[in-house]
Symmetry: C2
Subunit: 297 residues, 2 copies
Amino acid sequence: MLFVERLQAHRHAVEERLTSLLAETRSGPPAAARLAEAMRYAALGAGKRFRPFLVIEAAALFGVPQTQALDTAAAVECVHCYSLVHDDLPGMDNDDLRRGRPTVHKAFDEATAILAGDALLTFAFEILGRPTTHADPAVRAELVLGLARASGWQGMAGGQMLDLEAEGEPQDEDGVINIQALKTGTLIEFSVDAGALLGRASIAERQSLRAYAQAVGLAFQVADDLLDAEGTSAEVGKATGKDAGAGKATLVSLLGISRAREKLRSLGADAINALKPFGDRAAALEQAVDFVSNRRS
Amino acid sequence: MLFVERLQAHRHAVEERLTSLLAETRSGPPAAARLAEAMRYAALGAGKRFRPFLVIEAAALFGVPQTQALDTAAAVECVHCYSLVHDDLPGMDNDDLRRGRPTVHKAFDEATAILAGDALLTFAFEILGRPTTHADPAVRAELVLGLARASGWQGMAGGQMLDLEAEGEPQDEDGVINIQALKTGTLIEFSVDAGALLGRASIAERQSLRAYAQAVGLAFQVADDLLDAEGTSAEVGKATGKDAGAGKATLVSLLGISRAREKLRSLGADAINALKPFGDRAAALEQAVDFVSNRRS
């Protein structure tokens, strides 16, 4: 199967699973239909589903079939989507456009967007707590702990805070890498580690995969910054040229486009190198490196 | 020990635990100091810590010492505090005052308040995922699932959405009770159930405690509505008269003050009745009913 077909197959499977998860209602008092609609709008729009792809492919390294990784993949995607909804809010980045569609607070309203983000974040942990996600509660508890650490104050949310504080402030390369490691890197690392946890990988295997994920995570962000600097809004599906407009330092603004491309290549080499212990089994994760480095949106 | 002394002892213990939990930093890239400061501001201000009290006392029914219930109690309080931070946002209730102090977005800024709420919610699940919270991962996974359900789209967040939608809309008693069961009731019910889970209570014991918690949760909200209708801002520590101002139906506006007080008494009787199977062991939970019914802030 070609890489793009594989990516698309996982994307469809995850979206189908998310659709079914977000359609569930429990017994008890009737819940808010509008909130559920906003959550579905946020979670089921266009999206590469790159993090779910990483969960599924990392799990596959250890023989876990796609179907048994789907709930964990869906949970990670819920966290990613919640972060986009809150990032776009007027009190944060104030974006009107996301993935080529109105952002949640534009399509609904601000209060609904705040609550839809909150509820998607919460739902991710609901999914991970369920016996259907993994039969062993010790694995479920580890997934919960890992996802919370990756997305909380010492992870993604902390990175977002640092990113906001950095606007208009002078930054060096280490500072920018630290922000991006937290803001984007931690959730990408968790995605890969979640697959490893599902597959009961050894400590050594998890370390190799962590090195892979760290390189891929940073490459993902450098590629994003290159798109922001070079792409057009129509291609990228959201506003571009924002970083320069906000006076925000990126690796591209610090290194220039040519050295940023060089950095991207070297991160790609690091990522592929970290996959060595897995041999041919890691072909899809290896191809993901090219996908990340050369993405156009 | 008098009830108020007991409440205060648990409050101190929970605040001490929260202080220590929110001071922890992990190895890895440096996290955002401002975010941690806003989280501490939100979680460590004045507060009755009623939900932690319920966790601790329900656990105590089954012989679980306070120290072993503290982490779970702290996790529930993180969720309660996050919900207050987000409820107060300009895009939601737009409140400047909470527990007698400026709200988080007033003391910091809106972006920091959004992120601090997100991070407190996430931190609650981090705490519950840790082996220190309970030695058995099956109990941890159940706590995660329960907290997520209680606070998510079919729980607290859903109730908040319905509450916003209900402003200016005609409501009957069942409609108001449904909103309040979701908005306030589900987290109070989970607090009691969390104690039962920590203590490995039987299904029958959990059902008795659920009946208690449902009555207490609704009583808590009726008392809150009475305070809003009758109290002064200085006494209550936040703006009062808001429900009437927002055209928001409450049990007090639907039933009138006198019948609302009657309802409060009958809920209290239900709650105490549900504790019968536990005999004298449930004295503190019984006294909590009076505390809820007669609170002045």
